[in-house]
Symmetry: C2
Subunit: 170 residues, 2 copies
């Protein structure tokens, strides 16, 4: 189930985020302003801007899955130098490619794996705790904050853009 | 696992939200303005205000879990009449009490359950799809948006307030 919760659902959310950024570009074009104004917008002076929110959403997905699969060094490196929408969309695409390289069996033992990161000073969470209490809430935090920055700046996005399509069955 | 993802983690997030609202009250008091100004704030004119974000976060948790457990009629009714912080905190507390009434075995068959709601016109999602693609992203959306409204209005909350404590092990 962790594969569906992370690899599959994180991919869906990053695709939704990508489409939301495309909507933002259309609004900027229609209103005749540079979309980089939106990319550099933030909700508070000491909060990360939209570029950084997207970068962290991507990193939360790629590093979260890499840690759960026990292959943290395999995640593609990004130096956080994106300044344009095209570069940001490339970052998302590279993250999606990386997520797509995982199969369900790669996360078969993820729930019991001990997950740590440098700032935790040697302490760890189980993979299940890490996924449920850390990676998943963080992913949604940054996607929602990116959405909120655009919403605050007049981009006409709605809950359906955030959630994406549902696999309804008749 | 759906019990941990929803009942347990939704409870944690609602407790975090409750603590964030307490922080907002302290800021309002220190800056000598009425906290209901914050409660009625929003990020865009056509977006729900903070009161509504909290109400929907609670409803997403209580109705989501009720549907997954197959007991949708058991969820406490709320008429969305909250106007004060105290009333909003009562709503959260009642939702937490309700979540706390579930045991892991109540959701043992949740993944395969067919979940529907009136607006889906007879279509359904499996419980697993509903949890991963609908209830969980919605819960985080409304908690993050509540957080963002406060952050935008100068309440000094941070990621740790949003995530809450982690069960680190040495």
């Amino acid at each position: 189930m962790l594969y569906d919760l992370t690899v599959v659902q994180f991919s869906k959310m990053l695709n939704n985020l990508n489409a939301i950024l495309d909507k933002a570009a259309l609004v900027a074009e229609a209103k005749k302003y540079d979309v980089t104004v939106l990319l550099n917008s933030r909700l508070a002076p000491d909060q990360f801007n939209l570029i950084r929110q997207v970068q962290i959403a991507c990193d939360t997905a790629k590093i979260g899955v890499a840690r759960l699969a026990g292959v943290v060094d395999s995640a593609p490196k990004h130096d956080d130098s994106e300044t344009t929408l095209a570069e940001l969309k490339t970052r998302i695409a590279q993250t999606l490619d990386y997520l797509n390289s995982f199969k369900a069996e790669d996360l078969a033992e993820a729930a019991e794996r001990h997950i740590s990161q440098p700032r935790w000073e040697g302490k760890y969470l189980t993979g299940l705790e890490f996924a449920i209490q850390h990676a998943i809430p963080n992913l949604y935090f940054h996607v929602t904050t990116a959405y909120a920055i655009l919403r605050h700046n007049g981009v006409d996005v709605g809950k359906k853009d955030y959630l994406g399509a549902m696999p309804y069955k008749a």
